[in-house]
C-alpha cells in the first residue's frame, strides 16, 4: 500500500491528474472528494480564503489518516492533497480520493479521509470578507 499513497501540500491543486493517480488494475471504483472556495458564508460575501499550515506535522497527520483508512478498508490507492496560500472563489483547496475493487470501500474511505483531515490536520483557513477577516472555527 505504501507506494500507492500520495500525500502532498501544494500551492495549486491540479484536478486533471486525479483519475490517473487513483486508477489501478484491481480497482473497479474510484471516489474523490474535492473542496473548493464558496462565495458566501452566512450570507456574507467571501472575497478569498487564505490557508496556512504547519507543514511537517500536517504531512505526518495526513499520512497517518491515509494509513488508518487503508487498514480499515481494502484500498488500492489513496491520495490526500491540500493547497496553501490565497485561493479565490471556485478554486480547489483540497482533494482526497481512494480506489478499491468495489465502490463501497472507496466511498466510505473518501468520507473518512476528508472528515478526519478537517478534525486533525494542522491547516488553518482565514476567510477574507470586504471589511474583515476571520480565522474559521477559532472561536466557539
Amino acid at each position: 500500500m505504501k507506494g500507492n499513497m500520495s500525500i502532498e501540500i501544494v500551492d495549486v491543486i491540479d484536478t486533471s491528474t486525479v483519475f490517473a493517480e487513483l486508477s489501478h488494475p484491481h480497482s473497479g471504483g474510484i471516489c474523490v472528494f474535492l473542496g473548493a472556495v464558496r462565495e458566501f458564508t452566512d450570507n456574507e460575501e467571501v472575497l478569498s480564503l487564505e490557508f496556512e499550515t504547519y507543514k511537517i506535522m500536517a504531512l505526518k497527520e495526513m499520512k497517518k489518516i491515509a494509513v488508518e483508512a487503508s487498514e480499515k478498508w481494502k484500498l488500492n490507492k489513496v491520495i490526500i492533497r491540500h493547497a496553501v496560500g490565497a485561493k479565490n472563489v471556485e478554486e480547489p483547496v483540497v482533494i482526497v480520493g481512494a480506489s478499491s475493487a468495489h465502490r463501497e470501500a472507496c466511498f466510505i474511505a473518501c468520507r473518512y479521509l476528508i472528515d478526519t483531515l478537517k478534525e486533525r490536520v494542522p491547516i488553518w483557513k482565514k476567510e477574507i470578507f470586504k471589511n474583515k477577516s476571520v480565522w474559521v472555527s477559532a472561536h466557539p
Binding site: 490557508f51 505526518k60 476528508i114 478537517k118 486533525r120 490536520v121 494542522p122 482565514k126 474559521v136 477559532a138
Partner: protein
C-alpha cells in the same frame, strides 16, 4: 526554548514564534505552557480549543517539555 505559532495564535502574540530564555521560568510540561500562554494572552482562553504539538505530533497535557524539542501551538484547525 522556541515556540512556533500558527493561524490565530500568531495574530494573538503578534509574531510567528517566541522564546523562553533560560532566565525566564521555562515551562516544563504542556499544561504549564498552556497556563502561561493564557496568563500572558487571555485571548487564548477564548478559543474553541488549544493544542500543543511536540516534535510535530499532538501532545498530552501531562507530557514533559525538553530543551531542543520542537514545540508548536495548535489553535483550532480549519483545513478542507
Amino acid at each position: 526554548m522556541e515556540i512556533l505559532l500558527f493561524g490565530i495564535a500568531k495574530d494573538i502574540v503578534g509574531k510567528s514564534s517566541f522564546r523562553f530564555d533560560a532566565d525566564d521560568l521555562v515551562p516544563t510540561s504542556v499544561s504549564e505552557l498552556k497556563d502561561r500562554l493564557k496568563g500572558s494572552f487571555p485571548e487564548f482562553g477564548k478559543l474553541s480549543s488549544l493544542a500543543v504539538a511536540v516534535n510535530s505530533a499532538y501532545a498530552e497535557d501531562s507530557d514533559r517539555l525538553r530543551e531542543g524539542d520542537e514545540i508548536a501551538i495548535i489553535p483550532p484547525v480549519s483545513g478542507g
